[in-house]
């Protein structure tokens, strides 16, 4: 008798228990997938800010060419400077237009004259940033505003780290719940089929023959749970992609990269199979004594 057929028979004979096991698994993998997608989005946000200039000095309007060149010369004199980029008013306008190309209302009224020119500075040694910030924050005659990315990145890092910790904790708790649910449900199914197991043994069934359908059942819950959980979260990502990405603009928070989702699916099926097998193995070990 095909063990898969026997397993299917077990599933059909106690459909509600099977349904609970499958739902718990689906929920677990739904949250795991969701966490992976959010985590990937947070990483995109972080890397966006990390690739941005580490400090930006916005210049006062009406500065002459010599003053601007002197500022650039002064900035170049700092050690550990990686790159200094001068962004003129015209360049700032073109960047602004590019960033808001989907929203003509925001670009219609804006001209180069209302946007400040700036210096974008990246460094090899972050300690120098503080020094630049301290020196230029006092030069209020030439500097209009300073944006120091350190604060943003630090606060983003804190948020990302907290989100990851909470996410991992939730996933661990949910995985533990689904693990214990499968152990209990397999145990209940074994108890329900006690007579069948006893008869099978008396007519010569080996230990593995008796256990195999229950182990397969756990694996099926794992595979079905991980696949459906993934599909639900993918669906949510697909539906909400536009609105979420527009909120995080210009960062692409939900990137429908096929490789990412394929790897996620394969990894989840693998974890689901292992989780289902391990839980049913514990259940079988606990409830079938030989």
């Amino acid at each position: 008798m095909n063990p898969l057929k026997t397993t299917w028979h077990h599933i059909r004979r106690s459909p509600f228990q099977s349904l609970i096991a499958a739902i718990v698994m689906v929920l677990s993998f739904f949250f795991i997938s969701l966490f992976a997608i959010i985590n990937s989005g947070l990483s995109s946000v972080l890397s966006y800010f990390e690739t941005k200039p580490e400090i930006t000095l916005f210049l006062k309007d009406g500065l002459d060419k010599t003053t601007v060149e002197n500022i650039q010369k002064d900035l170049s004199s700092y050690q550990s400077i990686k790159e200094i980029t001068f962004v003129s008013k015209e360049k700032a306008l073109s960047i602004y237009k590019e960033q808001n190309k989907d929203n003509p209302l925001l670009t219609e009224m804006v001209t180069a004259s209302i946007l400040p020119a700036s210096f974008e500075i990246t460094v090899t040694n972050p300690q120098i940033l503080e020094e630049i910030y301290q020196n230029y924050s006092t030069k209020t005659t030439v500097i209009d505003e300073i944006i120091y990315q350190k604060d943003i990145i630090q606060s983003l890092l804190d948020w990302t780290s907290a989100t990851r910790k909470i996410g991992i904790a939730i996933i661990l708790i949910i995985s533990l719940i689904s693990f214990l649910t499968i152990v209990t449900i397999i145990g209940m199914k074994i108890t329900n089929r006690k007579d069948e197991i006893k008869i099978s043994r008396l007519i010569g069934a080996s230990n593995f023959y008796v256990k195999k359908p229950f182990l397969l059942e756990g694996i099926i819950y794992g595979i079905v749970g991980s696949t459906l959980g993934f599909l639900f979260s993918f669906l949510i990502a697909l539906i909400s992609q536009k609105s979420i990405n527009s909120f995080f603009q210009p960062v692409v928070f939900i990137d429908l990269n096929i490789n990412f989702y394929l790897i996620l699916l394969v990894a989840e099926i693998f974890i689901g199979t292992f989780l289902g097998f391990f839980a049913s193995w514990i259940g079988v070990k606990r409830y079938i004594k030989y």
């Binding site: 004979r13 008869i199 099978s200 007519i203 069934a205």
Partner: protein, 217 residues
């Protein structure tokens, strides 16, 4: 498969269910085990099936010493024994055909031959269309035949029948015993049958192992 009991004792707490039992049964013998209720007949069958372990003594089934408790040996030996339990022990949520298919699968019967083997034994015990019914849908005599069909399916070397006529009317009892006799003669299958029915025992003229309060008489 020769069956040897060598000074076998079986105790349940302070109760001595079997005391110093020694006998040999050769391949192809038809043996009745008789005795009153509580004499130890079912215990003896359970020891052969290794459902129980002896408290002392040795039980040999062919070359296998069951008292050593090797799981593979026990499973392999069980696969050579067809059992007709007094309470049938058919799996309730499987049809008769599925019950028979299960045992064939357990003994690794060639997959392509399973269906034809089922057809054969169903015909042999005359269950006809009942094969697609569940045990709860069959009458006592039919259940006993279904249990026998399952035992026969694996072409066993030994058939253990524990009071197979206990729940049957006289006509069905005789039919079952005749069938067992036929199988014994045709296939040289060892038959070990426990019974209370002295008429059957006397009219068959076969070897009898009589137990009284756990001892051979």
């Amino acid at each position: 498969m020769k069956i040897v009991f060598d000074q076998v004792d079986k105790k349940f707490g302070i109760v001595n269910a079997l005391k110093d039992i020694s006998f040999e049964i050769d391949q192809g013998e038809f043996v009745f085990i008789t005795g009153n209720s509580g004499a130890g007949k079912s215990t003896l069958l359970k020891l052969i099936l290794n459902q129980l372990k002896p408290s002392s003594g040795k039980i040999l089934l062919g070359d296998v010493d069951l008292s050593l408790g090797n799981k593979d040996d026990i499973n392999n030996t069980r696969r050579k024994i067809g059992v007709v339990f007094q309470d049938y022990q058919l799996i309730s949520d499987k049809t008769i055909e599925e019950n028979i298919a299960l045992i064939l699968d357990i003994v690794n019967y060639p997959k392509e031959k399973i269906q034809s083997r089922i057809d054969q034994v169903i015909k042999e015990v005359n269950l006809g269309t009942r094969r697609f019914l569940f045990p709860s849908q069959l009458a006592g005599g039919e259940l006993q035949r279904a249990a026998l069909a399952r035992a026969l399916a694996i072409e066993p070397e030994v058939i253990l029948a524990d009071e197979p006529t206990g729940n049957l009317d006289p006509e069905n009892s005789w039919n079952l015993v005749k069938l067992l006799k036929e199988i014994n003669q045709k296939n040289n299958t060892t038959i070990i049958m426990t019974t209370h029915n002295n008429d059957i025992v006397e009219s068959m003229g076969k070897r009898v192992i009589k137990l009284k309060e756990g001892e051979l008489v």
